[in-house]
Symmetry: D3
Subunit: 73 residues, 6 copies
Protein backbone atom coordinates (compact mmCIF):
# COMPACT_ATOMS: atom_id res chain seq x y z
CA UNK A 1 0.00 0.00 0.00
CA UNK A 2 1.54 3.25 -1.10
CA UNK A 3 0.07 6.64 -0.26
CA UNK A 4 0.87 10.33 0.02
CA UNK A 5 -0.67 12.57 2.67
CA UNK A 6 -1.53 15.94 1.19
CA UNK A 7 -3.74 19.01 1.54
CA UNK A 8 -5.94 19.76 -1.44
CA UNK A 9 -8.13 22.67 -2.36
CA UNK A 10 -11.61 22.14 -0.90
CA UNK A 11 -13.62 23.02 -4.03
CA UNK A 12 -15.23 20.40 -6.21
CA UNK A 13 -15.02 17.70 -3.59
CA UNK A 14 -17.72 15.46 -2.25
CA UNK A 15 -17.10 13.36 0.81
CA UNK A 16 -18.93 10.06 1.04
CA UNK A 17 -18.96 6.34 1.72
CA UNK A 18 -18.29 3.71 -0.92
CA UNK A 19 -21.59 2.00 -1.68
CA UNK A 20 -20.52 -0.36 -4.43
CA UNK A 21 -17.40 -1.41 -6.33
CA UNK A 22 -17.74 -3.02 -9.76
CA UNK A 23 -14.34 -4.63 -10.16
CA UNK A 24 -12.83 -5.14 -13.60
CA UNK A 25 -9.47 -6.53 -14.75
CA UNK A 26 -8.01 -3.06 -15.45
CA UNK A 27 -10.38 -0.41 -14.17
CA UNK A 28 -13.17 -0.53 -11.59
CA UNK A 29 -16.23 1.59 -11.03
CA UNK A 30 -16.58 3.00 -7.52
CA UNK A 31 -19.98 4.39 -6.50
CA UNK A 32 -19.77 6.82 -3.62
CA UNK A 33 -22.81 7.86 -1.61
CA UNK A 34 -22.54 11.59 -0.91
CA UNK A 35 -25.07 14.09 0.51
CA UNK A 36 -25.45 15.27 -3.09
CA UNK A 37 -26.25 11.83 -4.48
CA UNK A 38 -24.13 9.08 -5.99
CA UNK A 39 -20.78 10.16 -7.42
CA UNK A 40 -19.27 7.58 -9.75
CA UNK A 41 -15.53 7.27 -10.27
CA UNK A 42 -13.62 5.00 -12.64
CA UNK A 43 -10.10 4.29 -11.39
CA UNK A 44 -7.51 1.60 -12.01
CA UNK A 45 -8.21 -1.59 -10.07
CA UNK A 46 -4.65 -1.33 -8.78
CA UNK A 47 -5.21 2.04 -7.17
CA UNK A 48 -8.19 0.63 -5.25
CA UNK A 49 -5.84 -1.97 -3.87
CA UNK A 50 -3.07 0.57 -3.18
CA UNK A 51 -5.47 2.72 -1.13
CA UNK A 52 -7.14 -0.29 0.51
CA UNK A 53 -10.62 0.84 -0.56
CA UNK A 54 -13.68 -1.33 0.01
CA UNK A 55 -17.42 -0.95 0.41
CA UNK A 56 -17.99 1.32 3.43
CA UNK A 57 -14.65 3.19 3.16
CA UNK A 58 -14.87 6.96 3.68
CA UNK A 59 -13.48 8.74 0.64
CA UNK A 60 -13.29 12.13 -0.98
CA UNK A 61 -14.29 12.40 -4.63
CA UNK A 62 -12.32 15.18 -6.30
CA UNK A 63 -12.50 16.66 -9.80
CA UNK A 64 -10.91 19.69 -11.45
CA UNK A 65 -13.05 22.66 -12.46
CA UNK A 66 -11.65 22.42 -16.00
CA UNK A 67 -13.38 19.00 -16.28
CA UNK A 68 -16.85 20.31 -15.45
CA UNK A 69 -19.19 20.88 -18.39
CA UNK A 70 -22.12 23.27 -18.06
CA UNK A 71 -25.51 22.48 -19.58
CA UNK A 72 -28.59 24.69 -19.53
CA UNK A 73 -31.86 23.36 -18.15
Amino acid sequence: MSQSIVAINARNQFRGKIKEIIAGPVVSEVDVETPAGIVTSVVTSRSIEDLGLEVGSEVLTVFKSTEVLLAKL
Copy 2:
Protein backbone atom coordinates in the same frame (compact mmCIF):
# COMPACT_ATOMS: atom_id res chain seq x y z
CA MET B 1 -26.55 31.58 -29.52
CA SER B 2 -26.08 28.03 -30.68
CA GLN B 3 -27.28 25.02 -28.72
CA SER B 4 -28.10 21.33 -28.98
CA ILE B 5 -30.92 19.72 -27.01
CA VAL B 6 -29.85 16.32 -25.77
CA ALA B 7 -30.48 13.65 -23.15
CA ILE B 8 -27.49 12.80 -20.99
CA ASN B 9 -26.83 10.11 -18.46
CA ALA B 10 -27.99 11.28 -15.02
CA ARG B 11 -24.90 10.29 -13.02
CA ASN B 12 -22.29 12.77 -11.88
CA GLN B 13 -24.55 15.72 -12.37
CA PHE B 14 -25.42 18.48 -9.97
CA ARG B 15 -28.20 20.89 -10.74
CA GLY B 16 -27.86 24.41 -9.40
CA LYS B 17 -28.03 28.16 -9.87
CA ILE B 18 -25.11 30.28 -11.02
CA LYS B 19 -23.93 32.30 -8.03
CA GLU B 20 -20.95 34.08 -9.54
CA ILE B 21 -19.12 34.42 -12.85
CA ILE B 22 -15.49 35.57 -12.88
CA ALA B 23 -15.08 36.62 -16.49
CA GLY B 24 -11.70 36.42 -18.19
CA PRO B 25 -10.55 37.17 -21.75
CA VAL B 26 -10.43 33.47 -22.75
CA VAL B 27 -11.92 31.36 -19.97
CA SER B 28 -14.28 32.23 -17.13
CA GLU B 29 -14.95 30.64 -13.76
CA VAL B 30 -18.58 29.81 -13.08
CA ASP B 31 -19.58 29.04 -9.48
CA VAL B 32 -22.77 27.05 -9.22
CA GLU B 33 -24.73 26.73 -5.97
CA THR B 34 -25.95 23.13 -5.68
CA PRO B 35 -27.52 21.24 -2.76
CA ALA B 36 -24.11 19.60 -2.38
CA GLY B 37 -22.20 22.87 -2.14
CA ILE B 38 -20.47 25.08 -4.69
CA VAL B 39 -19.39 23.37 -7.90
CA THR B 40 -16.83 25.36 -9.87
CA SER B 41 -16.50 25.10 -13.63
CA VAL B 42 -13.97 26.73 -15.94
CA VAL B 43 -15.32 27.12 -19.46
CA THR B 44 -14.51 29.34 -22.44
CA SER B 45 -15.93 32.81 -22.12
CA ARG B 46 -17.47 32.27 -25.55
CA SER B 47 -19.49 29.26 -24.42
CA ILE B 48 -21.01 31.34 -21.60
CA GLU B 49 -22.16 33.77 -24.24
CA ASP B 50 -23.37 31.00 -26.58
CA LEU B 51 -25.52 29.50 -23.83
CA GLY B 52 -26.63 32.90 -22.54
CA LEU B 53 -25.53 32.12 -18.99
CA GLU B 54 -25.62 34.74 -16.24
CA VAL B 55 -25.87 34.93 -12.46
CA GLY B 56 -29.11 33.20 -11.46
CA SER B 57 -29.31 30.89 -14.52
CA GLU B 58 -30.31 27.29 -13.74
CA VAL B 59 -27.62 24.91 -14.99
CA LEU B 60 -26.49 21.34 -14.77
CA THR B 61 -22.85 20.69 -13.91
CA VAL B 62 -21.69 17.46 -15.52
CA PHE B 63 -18.41 15.55 -15.27
CA LYS B 64 -17.29 12.12 -16.46
CA SER B 65 -16.56 9.34 -13.98
CA THR B 66 -13.12 8.90 -15.55
CA GLU B 67 -12.26 12.44 -14.32
CA VAL B 68 -13.05 11.75 -10.68
CA LEU B 69 -10.08 11.08 -8.41
CA LEU B 70 -10.55 9.18 -5.15
CA ALA B 71 -8.74 10.20 -1.97
CA LYS B 72 -8.90 8.46 1.38
CA LEU B 73 -9.89 10.40 4.48
Copy 3:
Protein backbone atom coordinates in the same frame (compact mmCIF):
# COMPACT_ATOMS: atom_id res chain seq x y z
CA MET C 1 -33.25 4.49 -17.57
CA SER C 2 -32.43 7.86 -16.09
CA GLN C 3 -31.80 10.93 -18.19
CA SER C 4 -31.69 14.72 -18.09
CA ILE C 5 -32.79 16.86 -21.03
CA VAL C 6 -30.46 19.80 -21.43
CA ALA C 7 -29.10 22.37 -23.87
CA ILE C 8 -25.37 22.31 -24.36
CA ASN C 9 -22.97 24.58 -26.15
CA ALA C 10 -22.67 23.50 -29.78
CA ARG C 11 -18.86 23.59 -30.06
CA ASN C 12 -16.74 20.46 -30.04
CA GLN C 13 -19.64 18.19 -30.82
CA PHE C 14 -19.98 15.59 -33.53
CA ARG C 15 -23.31 14.01 -34.26
CA GLY C 16 -23.30 10.45 -35.52
CA LYS C 17 -24.60 6.91 -35.41
CA ILE C 18 -23.17 4.19 -33.19
CA LYS C 19 -21.32 1.76 -35.42
CA GLU C 20 -19.91 -0.60 -32.83
CA ILE C 21 -19.95 -1.18 -29.07
CA ILE C 22 -17.17 -3.20 -27.45
CA ALA C 23 -18.74 -4.10 -24.13
CA GLY C 24 -16.59 -4.67 -21.05
CA PRO C 25 -17.45 -5.45 -17.43
CA VAL C 26 -16.89 -1.86 -16.26
CA VAL C 27 -16.34 0.38 -19.27
CA SER C 28 -17.26 -0.03 -22.91
CA GLU C 29 -15.88 1.45 -26.11
CA VAL C 30 -18.44 3.14 -28.34
CA ASP C 31 -17.44 3.90 -31.93
CA VAL C 32 -19.54 6.62 -33.50
CA GLU C 33 -19.62 7.22 -37.24
CA THR C 34 -19.61 10.99 -37.83
CA PRO C 35 -19.14 13.05 -41.01
CA ALA C 36 -15.65 13.72 -39.68
CA GLY C 37 -14.74 10.05 -39.24
CA ILE C 38 -14.99 7.65 -36.33
CA VAL C 39 -15.12 9.24 -32.89
CA THR C 40 -14.35 6.78 -30.10
CA SER C 41 -15.73 7.20 -26.59
CA VAL C 42 -15.04 5.14 -23.49
CA VAL C 43 -17.91 5.31 -21.00
CA THR C 44 -19.15 3.15 -18.14
CA SER C 45 -21.10 0.13 -19.30
CA ARG C 46 -23.84 1.25 -16.93
CA SER C 47 -24.30 4.60 -18.65
CA ILE C 48 -24.81 2.81 -21.98
CA GLU C 49 -27.63 0.91 -20.33
CA ASP C 50 -29.03 4.03 -18.63
CA LEU C 51 -29.22 5.86 -21.97
CA GLY C 52 -30.43 2.76 -23.84
CA LEU C 53 -27.67 3.04 -26.44
CA GLU C 54 -27.14 0.36 -29.09
CA VAL C 55 -25.65 0.00 -32.54
CA GLY C 56 -27.53 2.40 -34.81
CA SER C 57 -28.51 4.89 -32.05
CA GLU C 58 -28.10 8.56 -32.96
CA VAL C 59 -25.78 10.26 -30.48
CA LEU C 60 -23.82 13.40 -29.94
CA THR C 61 -20.15 13.06 -29.00
CA VAL C 62 -19.09 15.99 -26.82
CA PHE C 63 -15.70 17.00 -25.42
CA LYS C 64 -14.42 20.10 -23.62
CA SER C 65 -11.98 22.44 -25.33
CA THR C 66 -9.64 22.10 -22.33
CA GLU C 67 -9.24 18.38 -23.23
CA VAL C 68 -8.07 19.04 -26.79
CA LEU C 69 -4.33 18.78 -27.39
CA LEU C 70 -2.76 20.53 -30.39
CA ALA C 71 -0.02 18.88 -32.43
CA LYS C 72 1.81 20.39 -35.37
CA LEU C 73 1.90 18.59 -38.71
Copy 4:
Protein backbone atom coordinates in the same frame (compact mmCIF):
# COMPACT_ATOMS: atom_id res chain seq x y z
CA MET D 1 10.86 26.44 -29.54
CA SER D 2 10.89 22.97 -28.08
CA GLN D 3 9.16 20.00 -29.68
CA SER D 4 9.05 16.21 -29.78
CA ILE D 5 8.39 14.28 -32.98
CA VAL D 6 6.13 11.32 -32.27
CA ALA D 7 3.63 8.89 -33.79
CA ILE D 8 0.20 8.92 -32.22
CA ASN D 9 -2.83 6.73 -32.61
CA ALA D 10 -5.00 8.02 -35.45
CA ARG D 11 -8.36 7.88 -33.66
CA ASN D 12 -10.07 10.97 -32.30
CA GLN D 13 -7.99 13.31 -34.36
CA PHE D 14 -9.11 16.08 -36.64
CA ARG D 15 -6.67 17.76 -38.94
CA GLY D 16 -7.28 21.40 -39.76
CA LYS D 17 -6.05 24.95 -40.15
CA ILE D 18 -6.02 27.49 -37.34
CA LYS D 19 -8.75 30.04 -38.08
CA GLU D 20 -8.49 32.21 -34.98
CA ILE D 21 -6.44 32.55 -31.80
CA ILE D 22 -7.90 34.42 -28.83
CA ALA D 23 -4.78 35.12 -26.81
CA GLY D 24 -4.94 35.45 -23.04
CA PRO D 25 -2.26 36.03 -20.39
CA VAL D 26 -2.20 32.35 -19.32
CA VAL D 27 -4.32 30.30 -21.71
CA SER D 28 -5.47 30.96 -25.26
CA GLU D 29 -8.37 29.65 -27.31
CA VAL D 30 -7.42 28.17 -30.67
CA ASP D 31 -10.20 27.62 -33.21
CA VAL D 32 -9.30 25.05 -35.83
CA GLU D 33 -11.24 24.68 -39.07
CA THR D 34 -11.63 20.96 -39.82
CA PRO D 35 -13.77 19.12 -42.39
CA ALA D 36 -16.05 18.28 -39.44
CA GLY D 37 -16.50 21.89 -38.34
CA ILE D 38 -14.67 24.10 -35.85
CA VAL D 39 -12.76 22.31 -33.12
CA THR D 40 -11.88 24.56 -30.20
CA SER D 41 -8.85 23.96 -28.00
CA VAL D 42 -7.74 25.80 -24.89
CA VAL D 43 -4.00 25.53 -24.34
CA THR D 44 -1.38 27.52 -22.44
CA SER D 45 -0.29 30.64 -24.27
CA ARG D 46 3.27 29.41 -23.80
CA SER D 47 2.67 26.19 -25.71
CA ILE D 48 1.37 28.19 -28.68
CA GLU D 49 4.66 30.03 -28.66
CA ASP D 50 6.69 26.83 -28.17
CA LEU D 51 5.03 25.23 -31.22
CA GLY D 52 5.14 28.45 -33.25
CA LEU D 53 1.40 28.31 -33.97
CA GLU D 54 -0.40 31.13 -35.75
CA VAL D 55 -3.50 31.69 -37.85
CA GLY D 56 -3.16 29.45 -40.89
CA SER D 57 -0.91 26.81 -39.26
CA GLU D 58 -1.82 23.20 -40.06
CA VAL D 59 -2.49 21.32 -36.84
CA LEU D 60 -3.92 18.11 -35.52
CA THR D 61 -6.51 18.34 -32.75
CA VAL D 62 -6.30 15.26 -30.55
CA PHE D 63 -8.44 14.09 -27.61
CA LYS D 64 -8.62 10.87 -25.61
CA SER D 65 -11.65 8.59 -25.89
CA THR D 66 -12.01 8.71 -22.10
CA GLU D 67 -12.76 12.45 -22.43
CA VAL D 68 -15.66 12.02 -24.85
CA LEU D 69 -19.15 12.23 -23.34
CA LEU D 70 -22.10 10.65 -25.14
CA ALA D 71 -25.49 12.36 -25.30
CA LYS D 72 -28.63 10.98 -26.90
CA LEU D 73 -30.44 12.98 -29.55
Copy 5:
Protein backbone atom coordinates in the same frame (compact mmCIF):
# COMPACT_ATOMS: atom_id res chain seq x y z
CA MET E 1 -7.87 29.21 3.21
CA SER E 2 -9.84 25.99 2.94
CA GLN E 3 -8.22 22.57 2.66
CA SER E 4 -8.83 18.85 3.08
CA ILE E 5 -6.15 16.49 4.37
CA VAL E 6 -6.28 13.22 2.45
CA ALA E 7 -4.28 10.18 1.39
CA ILE E 8 -4.00 9.67 -2.34
CA ASN E 9 -2.67 6.87 -4.47
CA ALA E 10 1.06 7.36 -5.06
CA ARG E 11 1.09 6.73 -8.83
CA ASN E 12 1.34 9.52 -11.37
CA GLN E 13 2.58 12.01 -8.85
CA PHE E 14 5.63 14.22 -9.02
CA ARG E 15 6.78 16.10 -5.97
CA GLY E 16 8.51 19.42 -6.53
CA LYS E 17 8.96 23.09 -5.75
CA ILE E 18 7.03 25.87 -7.46
CA LYS E 19 9.46 27.69 -9.75
CA GLU E 20 7.14 30.19 -11.36
CA ILE E 21 3.50 31.31 -11.24
CA ILE E 22 2.00 33.14 -14.21
CA ALA E 23 -1.06 34.70 -12.65
CA GLY E 24 -4.15 35.41 -14.72
CA PRO E 25 -7.58 36.81 -13.83
CA VAL E 26 -9.27 33.36 -13.84
CA VAL E 27 -6.62 30.67 -14.19
CA SER E 28 -2.90 30.68 -13.49
CA GLU E 29 -0.03 28.58 -14.78
CA VAL E 30 2.10 26.97 -12.09
CA ASP E 31 5.48 25.57 -13.12
CA VAL E 32 6.80 22.97 -10.72
CA GLU E 33 10.43 21.86 -10.70
CA THR E 34 10.51 18.09 -10.21
CA PRO E 35 13.36 15.56 -10.51
CA ALA E 36 11.74 14.59 -13.82
CA GLY E 37 11.73 18.13 -15.22
CA ILE E 38 9.18 20.94 -15.19
CA VAL E 39 5.56 19.88 -14.69
CA THR E 40 3.10 22.59 -15.69
CA SER E 41 -0.34 22.87 -14.12
CA VAL E 42 -3.17 25.24 -14.97
CA VAL E 43 -5.48 25.81 -12.00
CA THR E 44 -7.94 28.49 -10.96
CA SER E 45 -6.26 31.55 -9.51
CA ARG E 46 -8.59 31.14 -6.54
CA SER E 47 -7.32 27.69 -5.68
CA ILE E 48 -3.75 29.04 -5.56
CA GLU E 49 -4.96 31.51 -2.99
CA ASP E 50 -6.97 28.88 -1.09
CA LEU E 51 -3.89 26.64 -0.77
CA GLY E 52 -1.56 29.58 -0.09
CA LEU E 53 0.80 28.57 -2.90
CA GLU E 54 3.73 30.76 -3.90
CA VAL E 55 7.12 30.43 -5.57
CA GLY E 56 9.14 27.98 -3.47
CA SER E 57 6.14 26.07 -2.04
CA GLU E 58 6.52 22.28 -1.96
CA VAL E 59 3.71 20.66 -3.90
CA LEU E 60 2.62 17.38 -5.38
CA THR E 61 1.50 17.37 -9.01
CA VAL E 62 -1.10 14.65 -9.56
CA PHE E 63 -2.84 13.41 -12.70
CA LYS E 64 -5.09 10.46 -13.45
CA SER E 65 -3.89 7.59 -15.63
CA THR E 66 -6.94 8.05 -17.86
CA GLU E 67 -5.57 11.49 -18.80
CA VAL E 68 -2.22 10.21 -20.03
CA LEU E 69 -1.82 9.86 -23.79
CA LEU E 70 0.80 7.52 -25.22
CA ALA E 71 2.88 8.46 -28.25
CA LYS E 72 5.46 6.32 -29.98
CA LEU E 73 8.99 7.60 -30.46
Copy 6:
Protein backbone atom coordinates in the same frame (compact mmCIF):
# COMPACT_ATOMS: atom_id res chain seq x y z
CA MET F 1 -1.70 0.00 -37.79
CA SER F 2 -2.69 3.60 -38.27
CA GLN F 3 -0.58 6.51 -37.06
CA SER F 4 0.04 10.22 -37.50
CA ILE F 5 3.51 11.76 -37.27
CA VAL F 6 3.35 15.06 -35.43
CA ALA F 7 5.33 17.55 -33.36
CA ILE F 8 3.99 18.22 -29.89
CA ASN F 9 4.86 20.74 -27.24
CA ALA F 10 7.63 19.36 -25.02
CA ARG F 11 6.08 20.21 -21.64
CA ASN F 12 4.45 17.61 -19.44
CA GLN F 13 6.02 14.71 -21.24
CA PHE F 14 7.98 11.83 -19.83
CA ARG F 15 9.88 9.51 -22.12
CA GLY F 16 10.25 5.92 -21.03
CA LYS F 17 10.08 2.22 -21.75
CA ILE F 18 6.95 0.13 -21.29
CA LYS F 19 7.50 -2.11 -18.27
CA GLU F 20 4.14 -3.83 -18.08
CA ILE F 21 0.83 -3.99 -19.93
CA ILE F 22 -2.28 -5.20 -18.09
CA ALA F 23 -4.57 -6.03 -20.99
CA GLY F 24 -8.34 -5.81 -20.61
CA PRO F 25 -11.19 -6.34 -23.06
CA VAL F 26 -11.76 -2.59 -23.61
CA VAL F 27 -8.99 -0.64 -21.92
CA SER F 28 -5.50 -1.63 -20.83
CA GLU F 29 -3.12 -0.25 -18.24
CA VAL F 30 0.34 0.61 -19.52
CA ASP F 31 3.10 1.16 -16.98
CA VAL F 32 5.99 3.20 -18.33
CA GLU F 33 9.36 3.35 -16.60
CA THR F 34 10.62 6.94 -16.78
CA PRO F 35 13.53 8.68 -15.04
CA ALA F 36 10.88 10.21 -12.78
CA GLY F 37 9.36 6.89 -11.79
CA ILE F 38 6.48 4.83 -13.15
CA VAL F 39 3.89 6.72 -15.19
CA THR F 40 0.65 4.80 -15.61
CA SER F 41 -1.63 5.31 -18.60
CA VAL F 42 -5.03 3.78 -19.30
CA VAL F 43 -5.77 3.64 -23.03
CA THR F 44 -8.08 1.60 -25.25
CA SER F 45 -6.76 -1.87 -25.95
CA ARG F 46 -7.28 -1.08 -29.63
CA SER F 47 -4.93 1.89 -29.58
CA ILE F 48 -2.18 -0.32 -28.15
CA GLU F 49 -2.64 -2.56 -31.13
CA ASP F 50 -2.83 0.37 -33.58
CA LEU F 51 0.50 1.73 -32.31
CA GLY F 52 2.07 -1.73 -32.01
CA LEU F 53 3.04 -1.18 -28.39
CA GLU F 54 4.53 -3.98 -26.28
CA VAL F 55 6.73 -4.40 -23.23
CA GLY F 56 10.04 -2.68 -23.98
CA SER F 57 8.62 -0.18 -26.52
CA GLU F 58 9.96 3.37 -26.18
CA VAL F 59 7.07 5.77 -25.65
CA LEU F 60 6.29 9.30 -24.64
CA THR F 61 3.68 9.82 -21.93
CA VAL F 62 1.90 13.14 -22.48
CA PHE F 63 -0.70 14.98 -20.40
CA LYS F 64 -2.23 18.44 -20.61
CA SER F 65 -1.46 21.03 -17.94
CA THR F 66 -5.21 21.52 -17.40
CA GLU F 67 -5.34 17.90 -16.14
CA VAL F 68 -2.72 18.38 -13.43
CA LEU F 69 -4.03 18.85 -9.90
CA LEU F 70 -1.86 20.54 -7.28
CA ALA F 71 -1.73 19.28 -3.69
CA LYS F 72 0.22 20.81 -0.83
CA LEU F 73 2.68 18.70 1.15
